[in-house]
């Protein structure tokens, strides 16, 4: 994964609250066994009519290459655990999602793929909703979003995930390096822990 320090782009605003993962990538596209290529189905049912005709949705009016920051309504990414949701958004062209609340599993999945989940306060969110297409800057090193007019909005991101994103490393290597500790845990663990699931 390439290191991420800063994302500078225009925003694309989807103001609806509770945008769920079934909107981001409808379940019928989960029959794939690959990660690649999901972007063309991102928000499929908002972007296309039943007969495949593109709708007038804002997603069809803007060039994803120029609008890499998605501003969504509160509780973005709720619903299923499908990692296909951040895969689809990344493949579509997004590099960050900003909201006042982002669902837990979606956040965890996004951090592991280099899609920045950025939770901001209500006033900043309101400004972003009211100013679609604003050119803003997300600084992962400083953990601030810079809005036009030198306005800075702090955000929190889990420190280890942030470290991995800044370094461009994945978390599996860290866990694999814990092998001895895991083995020691398994040896001393009580009877209910790590008990085999196979039939007696």
């Amino acid at each position: 994964m390439d290191p991420i320090t800063r994302i500078h782009s225009r925003t694309l605003v989807l103001p609806a609250t509770d945008i769920d993962t079934d909107q981001i990538i409808p379940a019928r596209f989960l029959t794939t066994t690959a990660r690649a290529g999901l972007g063309r189905h991102a928000f499929e049912d908002w972007r296309y009519d039943a007969d495949g005709t593109p709708t007038a949705h804002v997603l069809n009016q803007l060039d994803p290459g120029d609008h890499r920051i998605l501003v969504g309504g509160h509780n973005f990414g709720c619903g299923s655990s499908r990692e296909h949701a951040p895969w689809a958004l990344l493949d579509y062209g997004f590099r960050a999602v900003i909201s006042t609340g982002i669902a837990d599993i979606f956040t965890a999945n996004s951090l592991k793929n280099g899609l920045l989940p950025v939770v901001v306060d209500e006033p900043a969110h309101r400004w972003l909703l009211d100013n679609p297409g604003a050119e803003i800057d997300i600084d992962l090193e400083a953990c601030v979003v810079r809005l036009p007019g030198d306005r800075e909005v702090a955000f929190h991101i889990e420190p280890f995930a942030r470290y991995c994103l800044l370094q461009g490393i994945d978390q599996l290597g860290f866990l694999l390096a814990k092998n001895d500790e895991i083995a020691a845990f398994e040896r001393q663990a009580g009877p209910d822990v790590s008990a085999a699931t196979n039939p007696n």
Partner: protein, 468 residues
């Protein structure tokens, strides 16, 4: 004085810490049971192959196929030669399980079914365990006093390779449900009412423990329904302290300890319940006695009202306006009497034997209304056999419904079972999101009795009117 009392969540969490959380790094949390299925694993197995890694504990890993499974016998017979993405996904999963030494209850297994039905049924789900699966409804297993939550595919890879996850400890929430559920009101109604109260983001960042007299009175099937829907309130997990009901359900199941080990296990499991005075970050109260059968009217599970209630006025709420526009329902109208097209009884929420019995009690000696399609999909092959032994299949067929093989089916519409654009479905599943049951589908979530009542009348109906 420091509060030494621990919640059940605290106890299970502490017991599974391989290395503790610090400011810089999350805890390394050990996972006792990893459930796997065809949809969220292929990319994880690819990572293992690319990096030359094996599965650390195949003996703690169990696979089955559910999301993409055909539910017709013709579909099942044709799977080996069917050149469809679903068939390829299932066959690739079965192959991955073989290659990595994972036990797979595949399409030819009499024990297969929806992963969250199979785990408990096989006794693999046990109190005190940490349980994960690449599926958000993993919260179901918390009904046994386990810490169970859904993960993404990258984390599936982490667990396959290391049996561990990197996790910060979530906050805790107690949901205290007092009173007694009235006759004709189900566990599904209870949890829908809760989500209506706290909202679809109300549980975000929290692990819920359901407590109180109404929870203690629930059967295991009902507890699973409640914990299953925890994610629909945004919660990380939901759990219920194990008790005699739990132990009776587990006794004698294939994967639980036997003989003297059983008694020892039960003694340990009794210690899991939250200590008196354990602190929770948040507490919510709900009175079961005041509840009625519930039905959703919108496009998330929090948009829910009693079946005898009215759809709210939209005011200036754009989310509600958008939802009602999609649903084609009028603000201020009564929900009862709304015409419907399809009834789906199934899913990891409501496909267990008690759910099928509740539906059959309504369907018995009645007919599905003209123009309405009823689909009943048992949660597992074992449930299907048990229901057939009781004659439930005959009741469904005599009413004019379709009786199917097990799988996720029309809950997620991946396998070809779908509602159809613009059509109304009353569904016992867990999500009424736009397009969840197929593009354009309009879903009304409800419990099994309410769903069956709608099948009979062709309209949203209070099931208590059809109960004798």
């Amino acid at each position: 004085m420091v509060n030494q009392a621990k919640s059940m969540f605290d106890k299970i969490w502490a017991r599974h810490i391989v290395s503790p959380e610090t400011a810089d790094t999350p805890a390394v949390l050990y996972i006792d049971l990893h459930l796997t299925h065809e949809v969220t694993t292929p990319q994880a197995f690819s990572v293992l192959r690319d990096r030359g890694l094996g599965v650390r504990r195949p003996d703690l890993t169990l696979g089955t196929v559910d999301h993409s499974s055909p539910t017709t016998t013709a579909g099942l017979r044709g799977i080996a030669t069917a050149d469809t993405p679903q068939a390829r996904q299932i066959l690739e999963f079965e192959r991955n399980c073989r290659d990595f030494g994972i036990e797979c209850l595949g399409l030819d297994s009499e024990h297969r079914g929806i992963v969250h039905v199979v785990g408990p049924e096989q006794g693999a789900t046990q109190p005190g365990k940490t349980i994960v699966c690449g599926d958000s409804h993993t919260s179901t297993h918390g009904a046994f006093g386990a810490l169970a939550f859904g993960i993404g595919t990258t984390e599936v890879g982490h667990v396959l390779a290391t049996q561990c996850l990197l996790q910060r400890k979530p906050r805790s929430m107690a949901v205290n449900v007092g009173g007694v559920l009235p006759a004709g009101v189900s566990a599904k109604d209870l949890v829908l009412a809760l989500i209506g109260k706290i909202g679809v983001g109300g549980g975000s960042g929290h692990v819920i423990e359901y407590r109180g007299s109404a929870v203690r009175a629930l059967s295991m099937e009902e507890r699973m329904t409640v914990c299953n829907m925890s994610i629909e309130a945004g919660a990380r997990a939901g759990m219920i302290a194990p008790d005699e009901t739990t132990f009776e359900y587990l006794r004698g199941r294939p994967r639980v300890p036997g003989g003297a080990q059983w008694e020892a296990a039960v003694a340990r499991w009794r210690e899991l319940a939250s200590d008196e005075g354990a602190a929770f970050d948040k507490e919510v109260e709900l009175d079961a006695s005041a509840l009625a059968p519930m039905v959703t009217y919108g496009t998330n599970p929090g948009m829910v009202i009693p079946v005898d209630g009215r759809i709210p006025a939209t005011g200036d709420d754009p989310a509600l306006q958008k939802a009602l526009e999609y649903m084609g329902l009028e603000p201020g109208a009564a929900i009862a009497g709304s015409p419907i097209d399809i009834v789906f009884i199934g899913s990891c929420t409501n496909s267990r034997i008690e759910d099928l019995r509740a539906a059959a009690a309504i369907l018995r000696e009645r007919k599905v209304a003209a123009g309405v399609r009823l689909l009943v999909v048992p949660g597992s092959q074992a449930i299907k056999r048990a229901a057939e032994a009781e004659g439930i299949d005959a009741v469904v067929r005599a009413a004019g419904g379709e009786w199917r093989e097990s799988g996720c089916s029309m809950c997620i519409a991946m396998n070809g079972d779908s509602v159809g654009s613009g059509k109304y479905s009353v569904s016992t599943s867990n999500r009424n999101f736009e397009g969840r049951q197929g593009a354009g589908a309009r879903t009304l979530l409800a419990g099994p009795a309410t769903a069956a009542a709608a099948a009979v009348t062709g309209r949203v109906t209070d099931p208590r009117e059809l109960m004798v």
